[in-house]
């Protein structure tokens, strides 16, 4: 599904990703861990197509297509979804409008007709239950005045409605209380299927108790320095990052 080869990217002329290699197959869940500032969000943003990240080398193939050649909205229509580490507030645009616009754009791209108002609302209500959000959130401006945890749940709501083929979750668990963590994990697990893949960025092994990954990678200084199965996360929890990062090349200061 996703094949990242020697991906290098810079922000404002500063190299951040220094040769990432990653293969994700349909049906798999990969966890990416790693110290602060190691490039995890940069990787997620590059995959989603955010401006300001310059790809200086390597390639990303997604479902046989050159992902990096697509605009962000085209990537979304092709089934890529990024749950933001810091979801953005969009004053004046309601949640329900964005959900509808997004879903219909994706359906249109797939050659499906637009959902009518009734079917749309039925779908949204059902997914609201999944993430235990009140209906009133639909009519508020996107993320405006939402608490940190509500913003994260809102990301999962969008994901549950848009049903992406490739979901990138950037620290969706950060800032969640224990109950919310379970809710988010349930939302993610409900979406797991043989056709879908997920990349879950997290600092906490706790999330991986709920979302059990097929592979765990450690990203440090812009490179994947170690990969393993779910036991790697437990190991990291016990020992920290030093033992996996110390033989990795340091970022040139």
């Amino acid at each position: 599904m996703l094949s990242i080869k020697n991906l290098q990217a810079s922000v404002e002329g500063k190299p951040i990703l220094k040769g990432i290699d990653l293969e994700v197959k349909a049906g798999e869940v990969h966890a990416i861990m790693g110290p602060n500032g190691s490039g995890k969000s940069t990787l997620a943003n590059v995959l989603a197509g955010r401006d300001g990240y310059e790809v200086t080398g390597g390639s990303v193939t997604y479902q046989g297509k050159d992902l990096l050649a697509l605009k962000p909205e085209e990537r979304a229509r092709e089934g890529v979804f990024l749950a933001f580490q810091y979801p953005v507030e969009v004053p004046g645009v309601s949640n329900i409008y964005l959900l509808k616009a997004a879903l219909n754009a994706i359906r249109k791209h797939r050659g499906l007709s637009e959902l009518d108002a009734m079917d749309f609302l039925t779908l949204v209500r059902e997914r609201l239950k999944l993430v235990e959000m009140k209906e009133e959130f639909l009519y508020r401006a996107v993320n405006e005045g939402f608490s940190g945890g509500e913003k994260k749940r809102n990301e999962i709501l969008q994901m549950a409605i848009l049903e992406p083929a490739l979901a990138l979750l950037d620290e969706t668990d950060s800032g969640l209380d224990i109950d919310a963590l379970k809710i988010v994990a349930n939302g993610v697990n409900a979406l797991r299927s043989p056709e879908r893949a997920m990349i879950v960025v997290t600092h906490y092994q706790r999330l991986l108790n709920y979302i059990v990954p097929d592979r765990v990678h450690v990203l440090a200084h812009g490179k994947i320095v170690k990969s393993g199965d779910k036991s790697l996360a437990l190991e990291l929890e016990k020992q920290g990052y030093a033992w996996v990062t110390e033989d990795a090349p340091r970022a040139s200061a």
């Binding site: 989603a48 197509g49 955010r50 401006d51 605009k71 962000p72 909205e73 990537r75 979304a76 229509r77 979804f81 990024l82 933001f84 979801p87 953005v88 507030e89 969009v90 004053p91 004046g92 645009v93 309601s94 329900i96 409008y97 964005l98 509808k100 616009a101 997004a102 754009a105 994706i106 791209h109 009519y139 508020r140 401006a141 996107v142 969008q158 848009l162």
Partner: protein
């Protein structure tokens, strides 16, 4: 267009002399004096130049360089069918329509007025009940703060007169429409409105300025409003003049104890529009709220000068202006707030946010706070910027194409001001107009914004 002249003052003074005898209310001493003062001040001042601080960014030499011939009506006839689509048709209101400055009874429908409420044309009320007008006209707005208000004082012939007696409540809004139509190139109208609310009275007044033809005319309007103790006035001012026109509007408001004034100002038209809104919170506990939106493109220019005079204690003022500029448009915002030594516990807030859609658009925004009391809360903020790139990316990452995302964010930015309007019969059609302007005609239902 007439060839520009170096000093048009003599031309205007000739025009004033030629018209004076025919102006309504000349037999009322206070009115006659007001006109004479206006003429004298105009002779003295002429039109403002860029040398004046208040006119530094708004150049009116195009107006000053020729005679805009004062008219009062005629030039064209308008049918109610022609007018219909331009009006807020779903708005039950006491409606007064003026065509090229003169009251058009056939197009007006004042209807039945509640007890204590007078709504009529100024010319008519000056003829029949001058005592309603005399104590106020020219007493709220100083005569001749600049050449435009002086000229208006010298030449005004008609306008709306609204008077609410103590405790009177006008349930339906009072809707004043100024229509420019026909061959109005190089023509000037000088409407004069007077709104008086006695103690505890309540009214909503809508002023709409529109054009049926794309002519190059000048509207030079002055509105005076006096709010008695505990009264409440909500004002809507909608400027949709022709794209070649000049609109100079001056509002003077004076508020008594615990009165509340809310103003919604929307500028969608005009080649050059200048609004001066001056509010004197002249007694304790007076409150005002100004909401403003300007959407400017091409080579148009919109200038909002506001001044809130906190003269007495415990006054509250809120100013919230937003602008969207495209093309080579230019906007000016100058928010003056004066807190006099007496005005302790004043609470004043001011915001002006501008969105630039083009590199060639320009904004000059300036708060001007003059605070002479110590126990006050005053804040102000001004921004000039582009669309939020994070919000743009967020929408695009949710499959919304870039152009739609830009349009949406622009619309949401501007609509924030309209959403403060209580009258749905005004707000919804304006939102519709805003969508045509900013959303390339996509319909609102489809958008379901907030």
């Amino acid at each position: 267009m007439t060839a520009p002249v170096s000093d048009s003052r003599p031309l205007y003074l000739d025009a004033i002399n030629a018209q004076r005898a025919a102006l309504p209310g000349q037999t009322v001493p206070a009115i006659r004096t007001l006109r004479e003062e206006g003429q004298a001040r105009f002779a003295e001042l002429g039109f403002p130049t860029a040398r004046l601080e208040d006119w530094k960014y708004t150049n009116v030499s195009a107006i000053a360089g020729q005679l805009f011939k004062p008219v009062n009506g005629a030039l064209a006839t308008v049918s109610s069918e022609q007018l219909h689509s331009h009006l807020f048709a779903d708005l039950p209101a006491h409606r007064l329509v003026f065509v090229n400055g003169r009251h058009a009874p056939a197009l007006s429908s004042v209807g039945k007025l509640p007890a204590g409420v007078i709504v009529g044309s100024l010319a008519e009320i000056l003829a029949t009940r001058p005592n309603i007008v005399e104590p106020h006209l020219g007493k709220i707005a100083p005569t001749g703060t600049n050449g435009f208000t002086a000229l208006n004082a010298a030449l005004f012939a008609d306008g709306a007169c609204v008077h609410l007696a103590r405790g009177a409540v006008a349930e339906q809004p009072i809707y004043i429409v100024y229509v420019s139509t026909g061959d109005t190139d190089s023509v000037m109208t000088t409407p004069r409105n007077l709104v008086v609310l006695e103690e505890s009275a309540q009214a909503t007044v809508i002023e709409q300025y529109l054009a049926l033809d794309d002519a190059r005319y000048l509207t030079n309007v002055v509105t005076e409003a006096a709010l008695g103790a505990n009264s409440r006035l909500e004002q809507y001012r909608l400027q949709q003049e022709s794209t070649k026109s000049y609109h100079i509007g001056t509002w003077y408001v004076r508020q008594a104890r615990d009165s509340r004034f809310i103003s919604h100002t929307v500028d969608l038209g005009g080649l050059l529009a200048r609004n001066d809104l001056h509010d004197i919170l002249g007694a304790e506990g007076a409150e005002c709220e100004f909401n403003g939106l300007y959407v400017v493109d091409g080579r148009s220019h919109v200038d909002n000068h506001t001044c809130v005079d906190h003269a007495k204690p415990r006054g509250t003022s809120r100013e919230y202006y937003k602008g969207v500029l495209d093309g080579m448009a230019r906007a000016v915002f100058n928010g003056r707030v004066v807190v006099h030594p007496d005005a302790q516990q004043t609470d004043a807030q001011q915001m002006n946010n501008n969105l630039l859609l083009s590199r060639n658009a320009e904004v000059d925004t300036k708060p001007q706070l003059e605070i002479y009391a110590d126990d006050v809360k005053c804040s102000h903020g001004a921004t000039v910027g582009q669309l939020d790139t994070d919000a743009l990316f967020y929408l695009r990452s949710r499959a919304v194409d870039e152009q739609t995302a830009r349009d949406l964010l622009t619309y949401a930015f501007a609509n924030d001001v309209l959403s403060r309007m209580k009258l749905a019969a005004i707000r919804l059609p304006l939102e519709q107009r805003l969508t045509t302007r900013l959303l390339r005609g996509r319909s609102l239902n489809e958008l379901e914004l907030i």
